[in-house]
């Protein structure tokens, strides 16, 4: 019984509150960057998605407990993103080589 608790890591309440606070702060930061997007061009989209990436990490690591999950579960989830990157790479290669050939699209 006691061992059970060691395996299912219990994140302290305080940590959850800090993570949520961080997520709220980053959301306000996104809006702040959006307000001054004219000055940030051409990096405004990059900044918006960089902030979203940090938020995604916070959600995955703490809210979804991946930080304390098994290695196999982390690999399984990462596989999804790997194949997504592959899909993006191959389809953009396909479409943009067609544009430069000026034929199909």
């Amino acid at each position: 019984m006691a061992q059970h608790h060691d395996e299912n890591h219990i994140t302290p309440l305080n940590t959850y509150l800090k993570v949520a606070g961080g997520l709220f702060l980053l959301t306000f930061l996104t809006i702040g960057a959006h307000a001054i997007r004219e000055h940030l061009q051409p990096f405004s989209a990059l900044i918006a998605f960089a902030i979203a990436g940090v938020k995604a990490y916070l959600v995955m690591a703490w809210f979804m407990h991946l930080k304390y999950d098994t290695v196999s579960n982390r690999i399984i989830f990462a596989t999804g993103f790997f194949f997504l990157a592959l899909l993006f790479a191959i389809s953009s290669l396909d479409i943009f080589t067609r544009i430069y050939q000026g034929s199909v699209l």
Partner: protein, 223 residues
């Protein structure tokens, strides 16, 4: 039907060694399901990014019809609901089922708030003639005083309605699942040794939040 036995106060199916083995296997199944979610939404994201880079002006015009303040409020609502969902699991882990039920109830209220805001966004767009793809009504848009530069604007709204609509369906399914674990929680079916359904629904709910974290800048801000 498989036979089950009770190990450490948990019903364990015969094909598992013990309750830990059952928990780990169940959770691995949830994570495999989450991979399919990432790939499904990911396909739409990839499509959006590629067409956005091909027709940046068209996408900018489409995005100008969205109100970032509504998306911003919905982002805050979803983040808060993610926190309360995580607390729903936490309070089960430390054997406080009453607080867990409250946390799940608040999650449910947040999800409903999200859908109400989405409802107003959608109905406003339908009202001024904005529909996905070829259904976009340029006449109605003109009547409402909008001078459209790109007659193919429906391309943007095809992506908008598919992505936010699929996300909205996930919110609705999530609400059903949260209500289900909340009722089980009220019946005291969970304890510190057994809360697998709450954890599974939680992972699903955080995926909903995770996708919105990227949808918000993609649809409302970058444009």
């Amino acid at each position: 039907m498989s036979t089950s036995r009770v190990v450490n106060g948990v019903n364990v199916a015969s094909h598992y060694r013990d309750e830990k083995h059952q928990y780990a296997s169940n959770k691995e199944g949830i994570w495999l399901f989450m991979v399919t979610e990432i790939l499904m939404f990911g396909g739409l994201f990839v499509g959006y990014i590629i067409y956005h880079s091909m027709y940046p002006e068209l996408f900018a015009e489409g995005a100008s019809f969205l109100d970032w303040r509504l998306g911003f409020i919905n982002t805050l609502v979803l983040i808060f609901s993610s926190l309360t969902m995580a607390l729903g699991i936490y309070y089960n882990q430390i054997s406080q089922p009453k607080k867990a039920t409250w946390a799940l109830a608040i999650t449910l209220i947040c999800a409903a708030t999200f859908m109400v805001i989405k409802y107003f966004e959608y109905t406003h767009k339908f009202h001024i003639g904005i529909f996905p793809g070829a259904m976009l009504n340029l006449e109605t848009l003109k009547e409402h005083g909008y001078n459209i530069q790109h007659p193919n604007l429906g391309l943007y709204f095809g992506f908008y309605f598919c992505m936010s609509g699929l996300h909205g369906i996930h919110v609705l399914i999530g609400m059903g699942l949260i209500a289900w674990v909340m009722i089980k929680n009220m019946k005291r079916e969970f304890n510190a040794n057994y809360y697998t359904p709450v954890e599974g629904v939680g992972i699903f709910w955080h995926i909903v939040d995770l996708i919105w974290i990227f949808l918000f800048p993609l649809l409302y801000l970058v444009g």
